[in-house]
């Protein structure tokens, strides 16, 4: 397989499709297609039976090929959600025409880009500030487009968002009155709620979501039509998706999962792993491998050596992983052997790669671009 190398691109040695996975150049981001398909089928089946639908939050993987698989599975709103305008532009270029930028877009340059995008896709954006609403309205008028706007609410995480109740209603009225904007509804990003006790998970999730639903009710009583309520994520999709009044859940982590979510969401399987090669066995009990912090993000936690009994990830430096080995692993692991790391957080990990190696039954089936990697703007 020949590929054009661009400046600033990952440079693996590309192998022909059909190559056994163990022969891929490392470190490599490898996705197991059977597991991806299981994960997507599991979550989407839930939404196929519901009023509420899933809106794949594609910032979790940044890969248009995966996003197309998600939308093709059903149970969705027919669109995606992203965080930055740059991500929205990349996904629009890959054929997506219903894009929710679940974030505040405030600078003139970005608002202009958003309006340009609205000419070729249905664009939804979040607001938490009336001055921003006026800027969006003026730009939409100048560009001859209509932007759909949701009010972002603060329910749990310290982040963007107006307070639920009257402040949110007041901002919704400002949006509703602004020309060239269409008030679409409400959103709140509460973050992943990691709880093994189902009752605790349900209680904390409902406590966040109910604030949004109460605000919805206030809005409806005051005569403002509302068609979109976006809450929840992979950690609590089944709770969010079952609450009357929730219209969509922007879940993303379920597709690839990671070591952080794994223990809390057993219905999904970790489908993305990093394959790495042992480059040094300096002393008994220690192996050094070629995946460091530039190949497996450790911002939120260390990866797990998932398939190697007796191996523990001791640390990662910029370019190296250090394994502590016991028992059989210590005796058998040799220079040049490959093994697998399951990243702790998949979002920060896909952001390090330009290519996903998609494998099935241990053989390379496709190489996909992580096209929206690095789109921070």
């Amino acid at each position: 397989m020949r590929r054009r190398m661009e400046a600033g691109m990952e440079r693996p040695i590309f192998k022909p499709l059909g190559t056994p996975v163990a022969q891929l150049d490392t470190p490599a981001l490898v996705v197991d297609l059977a597991l991806v398909e299981h994960n997507i089928a599991t979550l989407h089946a839930f939404f196929q039976q519901r009023e509420a639908k899933v809106r794949p939050h594609v910032t979790a993987h940044r890969c248009p090929a995966l996003a197309h698989k998600q939308l093709a599975t059903g149970g969705t709103v027919g669109g995606i959600s992203v965080i930055t305008v740059g991500e929205a532009e990349v996904f629009a270029d890959h054929g997506f025409d219903n894009i929710f930028v679940a974030n505040e877009v405030v600078t003139q340059q970005k608002i202009r880009r958003l309006c340009a995008l609205a000419r070729r896709a249905s664009v939804i954006v979040a607001v938490d500030n009336p001055a921003n609403v006026r800027d969006l309205s003026a730009a939409a008028e100048a560009h001859g487009v209509t932007l759909q706007v949701v009010v972002d609410m603060h329910t749990r995480l310290q982040g963007c968002g107006v307070e639920p109740g009257p402040p949110a209603v007041e901002l919704a009225r400002v949006v509703h009155a602004a020309p060239h904007l269409e008030f679409a509804g409400l959103m709140s990003y509460a973050g992943a709620i990691l709880a093994t006790d189902p009752a605790a998970l349900a209680a904390e999730s409902r406590q966040c979501i109910q604030q949004v639903l109460d605000t919805r009710e206030l809005l409806e009583r005051s005569g403002l039509p509302i068609r979109m309520v976006s809450v929840g994520n992979t950690s609590n999709y089944e709770i969010a998706g079952a609450m009357a009044g929730v219209t969509e859940v922007p879940a993303g982590a379920y597709v690839l999962l990671d070591a952080c979510y794994g223990p809390y969401r057993p219905q999904f399987a970790p489908a993305a792993r990093i394959m790495t090669t042992v480059t040094s066995r300096p002393e008994p009990g220690t192996a050094i491998a070629d995946a460091g912090q530039k190949a497996v993000s450790v911002d939120l936690g260390l990866p797990v050596a998932s398939d190697l009994d007796g191996a523990t990830v001791a640390s990662l430096s910029a370019e190296h992983c250090r394994l502590r080995l016991e028992g059989a692993a210590d005796e058998t692991l040799r220079l040049g052997d490959t093994f697998w790391l399951t990243p702790y957080d998949i979002g920060t990990c896909t952001n390090l790669y330009d290519y996903i190696h998609a494998v099935r039954d241990g053989h390379l089936e496709a190489v996909w671009r992580v096209a929206a990697r690095g789109q921070y703007r």
Partner: protein
């Protein structure tokens, strides 16, 4: 990848954010400092491009002076980018083990003086076999573990044995030794000097032993930003490997003769509650391994409270009011992990864009 190319002359306040800036006055100061330090010494700088990931910046240090005329890299893919960018002397300060990668390394050796780290006889034999088949000579440096507890030989006897093998194998030129060092925390100067000398002495002891066996050692490549001033007057050390010094990071703040040159420019997008402001840059773009938070430049009373995936939470005590649309500058706690998350450097001088440089070795972890 992103293609953001603000025109030279663009003022900082007109930049779309977040972006990775290089303060040119600061990086030129850092390059000059190294050039002045090593102009007349036997020991020279071999700049580590795992930190810079850009041939342009490597050339800037080489032109400024004080270097061996080449660079070191951590990966074969990085070395490829450097050779394509006109660098002709590259030490891969790391072990290259997989057969495919050795073939790739030997291809580079047809166009540049390539050297690579070794710590294992089987790997050395494989390097020899492929180099011979390709008709090239690979320079090898034995990696010595002095403090990292990572790759590298642990015992002098093992080093001598490996040197003998390297000297005997076809396709291989035994060139010398290399090591990395680490010193956690924020050491004072005395500790730094004592520990630095101790670590480097371990390399020099091995050098003596190998030379005692009749094998010449022409390169002793060791050191880090935090030992750059120690190697200069330690006889036997021929080159120092420095990376962080060029762009600097908050974690090396104790080396305050170097200026912070890498900064992230962000914009406030929300002020949801009194005293709290949300900026448009998060963990994805900033890198905070181990949860180390960045610091804010030039805003008294403003602190970083938290980093989310795509957002930063700033808190102000009121001394610096923060409003939506305001820009802010961050210093990252870590430098090369940060650069690896960006596609372009926006090079600025006194608040105005002077150049935009691609980061062609970003993602080159192969």
């Amino acid at each position: 990848m992103e293609h953001y190319r603000p025109a030279p002359g663009t003022p900082l306040q007109d930049l779309d954010t977040p972006c990775l800036l290089i303060d040119l006055d600061a990086i030129e100061h850092n390059f000059r400092l190294i050039a002045d330090m090593y102009r007349d010494t036997v020991c020279k700088m071999r700049t580590h491009v795992k930190n810079l990931k850009s041939p342009i910046l490597a050339h800037m240090q080489i032109r400024a002076g004080g270097t061996v005329g080449g660079v070191c890299a951590a990966k074969v893919a990085e070395a490829e980018v450097m050779v394509e960018g006109g660098i002709t002397d590259v030490l891969i300060a790391n072990e290259v083990v997989a057969h495919d990668k050795i073939v790739r390394l030997c291809s580079l050796a047809k166009r540049a003086d390539m050297k690579v780290g070794i710590d294992n006889a089987r790997n050395l034999r494989e390097l020899s076999k492929v180099a011979q088949a390709q008709g090239v000579t690979l320079g090898v440096l034995i990696e010595v573990d002095t403090s990292m507890h990572r790759a590298g030989i642990r015992r002098v006897e093992d080093g001598v044995e490996l040197a003998k093998l390297a000297a005997a194998l076809p396709g291989i030129a035994f060139r010398g030794l290399m090591s990395h060092q680490t010193l956690p925390g924020r050491p004072d100067k005395q500790t730094r000097l004592i520990e630095g000398r101790r670590f480097m002495q371990m390399c020099l002891d091995l050098k003596d032993a190998i030379e005692g066996a009749g094998i010449p050692v022409d390169i002793v490549s060791t050191g880090e930003t935090w030992t750059y001033d120690i190697a200069a007057d330690l006889p036997g050390v021929t080159e120092i490997q420095g990376g962080t010094y060029a762009l600097m990071s908050a974690s090396y703040g104790y080396m305050d003769e170097f200026a912070i040159a890498a900064k992230i420019l962000g914009t406030i997008i929300s002020t949801p509650r009194p005293g709290v402001a949300i900026g448009d840059v998060g963990v994805q773009a900033l890198a905070s391994p181990g949860g180390v938070l960045p610091s804010v430049e030039g805003m008294p009373g403003v602190t970083v409270e938290a980093l989310h995936d795509e957002h930063i939470v700033l808190r102000t005590d009121g001394a610096t009011p923060l409003t939506v649309g305001d820009q802010f500058l961050l210093h990252s706690g870590q430098q090369d992990i940060l650069v690896n998350r960006w596609d372009q450097y926006i090079a600025v001088r006194k608040g105005v864009v002077e150049a935009v440089w691609d980061i062609p070795a970003r993602g080159c972890h192969h």
